[in-house]
């Protein structure tokens, strides 16, 4: 709750005689002014100054002698790191860490600028691997979420670059992702940290499957395996966040299959025996993990991982069903646990499922005007139903606060 909200609402409480003026003062004092402005201004200032210097250098780059360029890179990097280090040490966490992040970025820029100075061509993701090393080391040192996201971005960008430019996946980058950033996530779990880690692992896996021309269906197994492994994580919030990332990835994989299964039947499928054995094994792993946390009802989520791509003729319809069941399940769980995050995600995915189902199934036998008409009416009906559910939920809570 923000101080502003308390200040405004508290006025009404005083007017109604619920609390005294003195109590009002005491309550408001419990909510100190957030340091948002004082913390964020220097960060934006640093970013602007950094961007200014960089664009100035970039636009005059070819006019500057090589040796001077090199020194400029080194001084910029050293300067960012040095000031970042001092600021962080003196307690200006946010500013210090953003300067250190600028140092990491300058190091990466330095690698590519020196490569350009000497006309170097890359034939693998080496530059990104080297770039990510100090980033990962600094993540571990400072245990900072923002540095973590930066390191993750470097590792992911390197892998995408490697896949697109060289049609290969860099194993070293995968190892750095799992041990470097993954190890950090395990030790300092945070929700966004876990969700982004799971998504990154799935991204690397997808790139691997594509570059090696393997069946995309394996991704369902990898997502399921990550999901099952997360069932053994003791912290509930991070577990849920990581699993939600795996589930949403599987959701989009299902969307992919809906469009693909009907179109081309040549899409290779994973070896069924290997797939099913491993799938059963990860399911068991998940089951025992969930039993430990007394969450066996969440086994319903496994619905989204089911490999309907083996069922060529009716696979797309089954996947469509899966989308509806899954988003309906999310809504149900969200209403039951009154978690607005899941309700919103569920609503969004439900709308998306309707839409996808509509264009994929209905297009063939409906005239186009009817397509839009019935589609709109369907969304209206759904909206009406969801609003009613939402109102019920709020009434069940009593009239909560001043916000609806």
């Amino acid at each position: 709750m923000s101080r502003k909200w308390v200040e405004e609402e508290g006025r009404h409480w005083v007017d109604r005689g619920i609390i005294s003026e003195e109590q009002y003062g005491q309550i408001v004092a419990l909510y100190p002014h957030k340091k948002i402005v004082s913390e964020r201004l220097p960060i934006f200032a640093a970013i602007l100054v950094g961007a200014g210097i960089l664009t100035f250098i970039a636009s005059n780059w070819s006019a500057i002698p090589q040796l001077i360029r090199l020194l400029m890179i080194l001084f910029a990097m050293g300067g960012f790191y040095w000031f970042g280090y001092r600021k962080e040490k003196r307690g200006a966490q946010a500013l210090g860490l953003s300067l250190i992040a600028l140092g990491i970025i300058t190091f990466g820029a330095g690698i590519f600028l020196i490569g350009q100075m000497f006309h170097l061509v890359a034939y693998d993701a080496r530059a990104f691997i080297i770039w990510s090393l100090p980033a990962i080391a600094l993540v571990w040192m400072y245990r900072s979420r923002w540095l973590y996201f930066l390191a993750l971005f470097i590792v992911d960008a390197g892998q995408v670059y490697s896949a697109i430019s060289f049609q290969q996946v860099s194993w070293l980058l995968l190892v750095l992702l799992l041990l470097g950033t993954g190890g950090y996530a395990l030790r300092h779990s945070g929700r966004a940290v876990f969700a982004s880690l799971v998504s990154s692992i799935l991204l690397h896996s997808l790139l691997y499957l594509i570059t090696e021309s393997q069946a995309i269906g394996w991704l369902a197994l990898i997502a399921a395996a990550l999901y099952a492994a997360l069932d053994w994580l003791p912290n509930r919030r991070t577990r849920m966040a990581g699993q939600l990332a795996a589930l949403v990835s599987a959701f989009f994989l299902a969307v992919f299959f809906i469009f693909l299964l009907g179109e081309m039947d040549r899409e290779p499928v994973p070896n069924p025996a290997v797939f099913l054995v491993l799938f059963a094994f990860t399911f068991a792993l998940s089951f025992f993990g969930k039993r430990k946390h007394k969450e066996t009802v969440a086994l319903l989520e496994w619905f989204i991982f089911l490999p309907f791509f083996y069922w060529e003729s009716a696979g797309d319809v089954m996947y469509l069903l899966v989308l509806f069941v899954f988003s309906g399940y999310l809504l149900w769980i969200g209403y039951r646990e009154e978690g607005s995050g899941r309700v919103n995600a569920g609503t969004l995915l439900f709308l998306l499922s309707t839409f996808i189902g509509y264009i994929q199934v209905a297009w063939d036998f409906l005239p186009k005007s009817l397509f839009f008409l019935v589609g709109g009416l369907l969304l209206f009906a759904l909206n009406w139903f969801l609003q009613r559910q939402r109102r019920k939920l709020l009434e069940g809570n009593g009239r909560g606060g001043g916000r609806t």
Binding site: G78, W82, P134, L138
Partner: protein, 174 residues
């Protein structure tokens, strides 16, 4: 603890500075002690376009006849091979390709190369690591159009590192 953190931080900083500095220094060293090669450029695959600040180059030595191959079985993609070059006329041309690094004879230069995955299958297609030439932004169009009749000067250090030192058009020489 604080003390240790400071030390680790500055070791990290030093390593990054040393890496960048060392990278640059090694290429300056190539300039100083390297042997100069003059290579003729060749048409590139149409998929290579002008990128605004650099041109993609291909050389006559990028695609070689299999008759130059001195190994047994043909090498796989991405495998490392060694190309022996000898000066013929005003340019250097490939005379042999070996799977292992051969002894460098008088008047010859050995270049390390990797077998690339694209190109004509009846030829030995190689990349050397100097297939890109950076120019001032948006000045490369002319270069792009005439890059098939250019000469690129490359320096090769005794330890195998290479670096482009210049690009000239053949007409200008005449």
């Amino acid at each position: 603890m604080r003390q240790r953190k400071a030390r680790v931080f500055f070791v990290l900083l030093l390593l990054q500075a040393l890496f960048l500095g060392g990278m640059a220094a090694s290429y300056y060293a190539v300039d100083a002690v390297g042997k100069e090669l003059r290579l003729k450029t060749a048409p590139v695959d149409p998929r290579d376009l002008f990128y605004g600040d650099h041109v993609e180059l291909a050389y006559e030595i990028s695609s070689l006849p299999w008759t130059l191959w001195k190994g047994g079985a043909r090498p796989d993609k991405k495998e490392t091979v060694y190309v022996v070059l000898r000066r013929s006329g005003s340019h250097d041309a490939a005379v042999a390709v070996y799977p292992e690094k051969p002894e460098e004879k008088e008047g010859e230069t050995v270049l390390q190369a990797r077998v690339r995955s694209w190109g004509q299958p009846e030829q030995l297609n190689l990349v050397y690591g100097f297939e890109r030439y950076y120019v001032e932004e948006n000045t490369g169009k002319e270069l792009e159009e005439r890059r098939e009749q250019a000469t690129v000067s490359v320096k090769v250090a005794p330890w195998g590192q290479t670096k482009i030192i210049g690009l000239t058009f053949d007409e200008e020489k005449k």
